[in-house]
Amino acid sequence: MRARSRFLIIAWLFHLRQMATVRIYIFDSVVLPLVLATIALRMAGPSADPATLTSLTFGAAVMGMWAAALSGTGGAISRMRSMALLEPIVAAPTPLAAALAANALASASLGLYSLVATVLWAKFGLKAPIEIASPALLVPAFVLTVVATAALGVTLSVSLVMFRRAQSVSNLFEYPFWIFTGAMVPITLLPAWFDSVSWFIGPAWGMKAIRSAAVGDASAVGVALLAGFAVTAAYWTVSMLLLRSMERLARERAALPLS
């Protein structure tokens, strides 16, 4: 357990440092949220109420976090495959799940860049009146979003590990995430079935927690945190089960591109 934790931390820091030097990840986690925040805030206009503008700013940051997680996780498998590293990593004693988790966690951690850059840009670049009623509540809300995004990334990457073109398939999940997390449009304003689906999406609870923290609704933050961490735990369980069956299948067939 201790060795696994150590591996996870070291691999996480390694990936984070490596990703922080790759321009495409910097684009996804810093430039993209700024572009999306600018589009959203300009669309809403200066007359929109501060709560809406604050929510849109955080939504853009979460969208950037997801973009980084998608290119980090979907892309990681493609890169491992193209470098012929995927098979040795699967065959190594350290579980593939740990390797993927460290990667996804590093991708989602780039969301910290995303959050800071987006809020600073919105406040000082676009002069948006960012109002956060409870900054203390925002911290756990944001931690949940990072962890939930990482977990969703791992689930996705595990599901795609057998696809030769994992990156192309994972790209399809970018826009649905924007809608089902309520990053830009609150889920409550969409048809009821969107809300039902969003219950099973961890980062959607993260977004709800962020939005509630911004208006200082502590009880709503608590509910969102509980539900979000429960869904995130479920993601990890599903990922482990999927991974176990995938690894068994890969060993039986002695090949990873099973699709």
Partner: protein
């Protein structure tokens, strides 16, 4: 005849080779589903926070999806050779690089063009955007001009990948920059700072013309002429860049020109 064969036949074969994955199960998701998801996401966001009717965002994103396809394809036709390790061999052949790479744009242009027409059909079906029958030929011509100018810009960016190792950074910046500046989701009144700059990049003028025709007005010929002019200028810049970088690569016997 030799140049024709290299351009058309060679371009087609190379395109098929580089985009071998773009077939079967990934064809529809990549060329139809992903742009449709972009269209749906921004139409929903625009309907909620924007000042324009849903059809404005749907049409803007339908045409932008083609810009994305054209720019990415044009960049990848050069960039993928680098990542596949075949760029040095290609540059050592007697054919001119611009002839080799230029021919690969024809299939890219066709796929982007078809994708955009499908997206416009979706936009008219689901958002109430209307296309006057008399305006259809003009819209098809304008989409072609936009595809041409976006491909030329993509070739410029692809030429940069002869110089830079990071192939996908510049196309991503361009695609989201276009989303911000070219009137895809923001009117010129909402984004006045970027208006004069936007006129100098592909898509802005063509998209303006398409919207005018869809409203039943005459197509602004100046916008079409500008789009054609931009396609010519960007193509010339691409030719110069490809020539200069290919020459430098031959002289220095290295492709790591930017390292």
């Amino acid at each position: 005849m030799s140049i024709f064969r290299t351009t058309v036949v060679g371009g087609y074969l190379a395109y098929r080779g580089l985009f071998h994955w773009l077939s079967g199960r990934l064809l529809v998701p990549t060329l139809v589903l992903n742009p449709a998801l972009q269209l749906a996401a921004f139409t929903m966001i625009g309907s909620y926070i924007g000042s324009q009717p849903a059809s404005y965002y749907a049409v803007g994103n339908a045409v932008h999806s083609m810009a994305r396809a054209s720019i990415f394809s044009a960049t990848v036709v050069i960039g993928a050779e680098r990542s596949n390790g075949t760029l040095s061999t290609l540059l050592a052949t007697p054919s001119r690089p611009i002839v080799i790479f230029g021919g690969r744009l024809i299939p890219a242009l066709v796929t982007g063009y078809l994708s955009s027409i499908i997206m416009l059909a979706l936009a008219t079906t689901f958002t109430g955007a209307t296309v006057p029958l008399a305006g259809v030929p003009m819209i098809l011509l304008t989409i072609f001009l936009v595809a041409l100018s976006c491909s030329a810009l993509g070739l410029c960016l692809g030429a940069a990948s002869l110089y830079l190792r990071d192939v996908f950074f510049l196309p991503n910046v361009s695609i989201y920059g276009m989303m911000l500046f070219c009137g895809v989701n923001l009117t010129s009144a909402e984004n006045p700072a970027g208006e004069s700059f936007a006129r100098l990049i592909p898509l802005t003028n063509g998209l303006h013309a398409i919207r005018e025709v869809m409203m039943g007005h005459q197509a602004p010929l100046s916008a079409l002429a500008t789009e054609l002019g931009l396609a010519t200028v960007y193509a010339l810049v691409a030719m110069i860049l490809v020539h200069v970088f290919a020459q430098r690569a031959r002289v220095t016997a290295s492709l790591d020109l930017g390292a």
